[in-house]
Symmetry: C2
Amino acid sequence: MRRAAEVFERKGVANTSMEDIAREIGIKREGVYYYFKSRKDILLGVILPQSTALHRNLERICISRLDSVGKLHAAIQNHLDAFNPAYLEMSVALRESHFTTNDEKLSEIRQIWDSYGELWTALITEGQDEGEFRTDLEPKMVAFGLLGMCNWVSRWYDPVKSVSISEIVETYFSLATNGLKVPEEALSH
Amino acid sequence: MRRAAEVFERKGVANTSMEDIAREIGIKREGVYYYFKSRKDILLGVILPQSTALHRNLERICISRLDSVGKLHAAIQNHLDAFNPAYLEMSVALRESHFTTNDEKLSEIRQIWDSYGELWTALITEGQDEGEFRTDLEPKMVAFGLLGMCNWVSRWYDPVKSVSISEIVETYFSLATNGLKVPEEALSH
């Protein structure tokens, strides 16, 4: 899986053959076909567990007893930590636009990601309802903005050269909470 | 170009053949080859003018007499307005990971985008130097965070159903400037 993810990342999913994956592992193509029917099955194997874990963790965060600021921190951390051990897999999942095809399993992933986006939107909405976040911004736009901020990390993050993931978590959390802070004048009412 | 961009967007660049593009236009494949050597040339035709314009506009913004908050607003607007008339092209440019290949023309685009990212980082750095933005956040991380926020719009923005681009501009500008605001206690020193 890790080898396949590396080839996907390097060549792009559409340009990667079963042959390429076999070569990367150092076995014959038949060896790969023994375990996987197609390239798509391998791609699913790369993306699905990652997406499911990300979603399940965010669900736990949303129903936890943290306040909304705490939930936001946990949500950003959960999202960005996924880049850490498995940034390649994530990167592949986020870059490719395979989710537009009609394949049944792929649409399962699509659904997880849709639901994931909805959880983020609900987290922002809750913070607004609780008076922790300013209410003049549209929650979905905010949620997708923050997700975009985090997702873009897969484009520029280099685990060897770059800053640490935890620095990115703290920077984006700080930007987000300050950006969402209720203005002083509103608090005094 | 517009037709080609639509097919690229729908099928992904790697899955799009010259045949597909010809069919979309309603001409023979030979007709497309008369103007373009390859699919890659068409892709470049879609991405290069867009990238160049985006970069040139940001350069103008950076050397303008606006203060840093004003530059930030103009930079976000410049970036997101590109989605408006040509969101498909942008979307293709941003989604695909063709920039990793060694092609000379593609590396030209890559350079424009690298330089574009550096301009954004310089804009944030200038704002910190001028005392307009808080100085405790790493400028590149902030710049790429805001770019990611904007770039992600290509994934969820639907020009038919969605909110307007100008609403997104104002929301993200507001989030960003509040997020970057110098804390009150720091101002009183």
